[in-house]
């Protein structure tokens, strides 16, 4: 065997595991996305966000979420607290709008922005796009409590996502159980845990998930209730809808 062939073979042997788990990783991410997204029907639910501040204060935000993942559209209407009642978000095409009924104006927002000044991001309410936004750079097996998980280290392939680095734990059913979100400099910023899912109409919906901001040590619990996969009128995904519900 010539030296050139030996070098080429060595490179292939070295790259093979990377290519294999990159491919395997992408497959896992696609399955995770598929379970967390509802592209075959509309989705509606009530999200209750309870934030626990460091000083012991609790802040509750209740919102109605309407999603049409097949078209990457969603509408969110704030029900509580009273001061924010009628505010809302509308995502159509590539634009995310925030509506304020006091000023009756729509302003541009970003999926990366905080949701209603809570520790949740606007992106926490939308369909999962992990396979699109990240590449897998490492995979290992790790037990997470009673779940045997695959631990995937992810790096963003686009700068459009809020967290450039993530580590996620996926169980045997490809349900996301935990994620760690890192800053560009590699500092751990947020830990999310998904302890329980409920099955509705054959689809998995997290009944609650927990977020912990590592730097501020604030904890947030998001509960999902009143889930429906029935068709949602097209008019729900419009600015007029947000204007009407706030009246």
């Amino acid at each position: 065997m010539s030296i050139r062939k030996s070098i080429a073979l060595s490179i292939i042997i070295c790259l093979l595991p990377i290519l294999v788990f990159a491919d395997e990783g992408k497959g896992i991410l696609e399955k995770v996305d598929a379970l967390a997204s509802y592209t075959d029907s509309d989705f509606a639910a009530q999200y209750t966000i309870v934030e626990e501040k460091k000083n012991g204060d609790r802040q509750k935000t209740v919102s109605l979420v309407f999603r049409r993942d097949a078209q990457s559209m969603y509408t969110i209407v704030i029900k509580e607290p009273e001061i924010s009642q009628g505010q809302g978000y509308l995502k159509v095409e590539n634009s995310l709008w925030f509506y304020d009924p006091d000023s009756r104006r729509f302003n541009f927002s970003s999926a990366k922005d905080r949701f209603q000044n809570t520790n949740a991001r606007n992106s926490d309410f939308t369909k999962s796009t992990l396979a699109e936004d990240y590449k897998v750079v490492a995979i290992e097996d790790e037990a997470l409590g009673r779940y045997q998980c695959r631990k995937l280290t992810l790096e963003a392939v686009t700068d459009e996502v809020a967290y450039p680095k993530m580590i996620i734990w996926v169980d045997e059913n490809y349900l996301l159980r935990k994620s760690e979100d890192y800053s560009l400099s590699g500092r751990l910023l947020r830990v999310s845990a998904f302890p329980s899912y409920t099955q509705i109409d054959g689809r998995y919906v997290p009944s609650r998930f927990l977020l912990q901001e590592v730097l501020s040590k604030e904890k947030t619990q998001i509960s999902i209730s009143r889930v429906s996969f029935n068709d949602i009128p097209n008019s729900t995904f419009s600015k007029q809808f947000l204007e009407n519900v706030s009246r």
Partner: protein, 432 residues
């Protein structure tokens, strides 16, 4: 010689009748002191606002870039174009200050405590001695600032974070594309700034800010010019023309409303704005203008009171001196000379009142400066280290003196003329 004699005689009469003028002197002194205090404080407050704003925004005139492709982030990517445009014009500037500023999306953390910052200013330590020198340092020191991880935080931030000089804090921000990024800093010093600019503010090295926000080495958010003389309209036009040849530059902006308006809508690439410090503080300027209008309303009230007081007092004085006026007329003094004599007497009253009013104003301002006024909500911006300070401009003082002279002389003129024209027989008999 006649004038000298009249002045000398008026001085003698003034000294003799000074007791009769006491009420007039008190009224004029009070009026002058009030006007002096009000104009001095008004100028002092304006100076405080501009001085604080100058250090906060980093200059007197600004060239700002807004990146339409990155959420309209404040970003200039053409330093060579701007530098060469500035060099080509005969602008008398002290220095150029380039900063990378980050506003309401910066968060500082320390041991679980967090503060949402309003101003994270990335500055070049060596190029901004005035900015650093103007800080009222309450703990730590500015002696060992480094270009990597030194941070200077305001006292409010220090209290919220419970972080002291020497502690490590984490700054979180969003890169140009919106990704989360963090950097660790060591608190070098804590400064006290009770103005509206000082709350939730910190200074970090410009290179650290560029790295945090993923800006290039030659990318800044603002160009500030420290000017020796304000830019003239023709200089602004020339600068606009020079920049417009290579960059997209909006027409020079002069109001806050226009500034806010210019950032609305959508655009591609970087759009540049030109504005002066007054535009940034135009809302405060409006408040100062309103205060000035109120001051002038009070001036008018005071002037009216003084005018009436002088007129009444002087008529009484003239009436009391009717017999004496008759005597002077009977020994040959002409009516015009008599009017001049009476007016010169008033001039002495006026000069004495100015001196006493000036002293009274100084005492009032000294007393006012002893107290801290920072407890009044929203008033901090007008104070220097929590205290009211007065600024006296020659032009304003001259106008105040002229104004008072302008109301005193007409007020005494008419009773004087009337007294001098009095029928000699009646005057000698002491009748009015």
């Amino acid at each position: 010689m006649q004038l000298q004699r009249t002045i000398s005689l008026s001085w003698n009469y003034f000294r003799r009748y000074v007791n009769r003028y006491i009420f007039l002197i008190i009224a004029l002194s009070l009026g002058f002191s009030i006007i002096t205090v009000m104009t001095g404080l008004s100028a002092g407050m304006t100076d405080s606002v501009y001085s604080a704003a100058r250090n906060h925004y980093g200059g007197d005139y600004f060239i700002l870039g807004y990146d339409g492709d990155h959420s309209k982030r404040s970003r200039t990517t053409d330093p060579d174009v701007i530098d060469s445009a500035l060099k080509s014009l005969s602008i008398d500037f002290e220095r150029i200050v380039k900063r990378v500023n980050y506003f309401s999306n910066g968060y500082l953390y320390h041991e679980g405590n967090s503060v949402r910052m309003k101003n994270v200013l990335g500055i070049d330590w060596t190029n901004e001695p005035d900015t650093l020198g103007s800080l009222h340092i309450v703990s730590g020191s500015l002696d060992d600032l480094n270009t990597e991880d030194s941070i200077i935080i305001s006292e409010v931030v220090s209290q919220e974070l419970q972080a002291q000089a020497g502690d490590e804090v984490i700054l979180q921000g969003d890169t140009l594309s919106g990704q989360k990024n963090t950097a660790a800093f060591k608190v070098a010093a804590v400064f006290r700034d009770t103005t509206v600019f000082g709350y939730f503010k910190c200074f970090i090295p410009i290179t650290a800010q560029q790295s945090l926000l993923a800006y290039g080495e030659d990318e800044f958010s603002s160009y500030g010019l420290y000017l020796n003389e304000p830019l003239s309209a023709s200089q602004i036009t020339a600068l606009h023309t020079a920049l417009s040849s290579s960059l997209i530059v909006e027409k020079p902006i002069s109001t806050r409303t226009a500034f806010n308006q210019s950032k609305k809508g959508r655009w591609d690439g970087i759009r540049y704005l030109m504005l002066n410090l007054g535009t940034y503080v135009s809302e405060v300027d409006d408040l100062l203008s309103a205060m000035t209008i109120i001051s002038y309303f009070l001036y008018i009230m005071i002037i009216f009171i003084i005018l009436v007081s002088i007129n009444i007092t002087y008529r009484v004085i003239i009436k009391e001196r009717t017999g004496e006026i008759g005597t002077l007329r009977s020994i040959g003094m002409q009516r015009n000379d008599l009017v001049s004599l009476l007016l010169f007497e008033c001039l002495w009253v006026f000069i004495l009142s100015l001196v006493l009013g000036g002293i009274l104003a100084a005492v009032i301002l000294f007393i006012l400066s002893l107290f801290s006024w920072s407890g009044i909500p929203g008033f901090e911006i007008f104070l220097k280290s929590g205290k009211l300070t007065a600024v006296f401009e020659g032009k304003t003082l001259f106008m105040n003196v002229l104004l008072l002279l302008g109301i005193t002389m007409p007020a005494v003129m008419f009773p004087s003329i009337r007294g001098a024209r009095m029928n000699l027989t009646k005057a000698l008999s002491g009748e009015d």
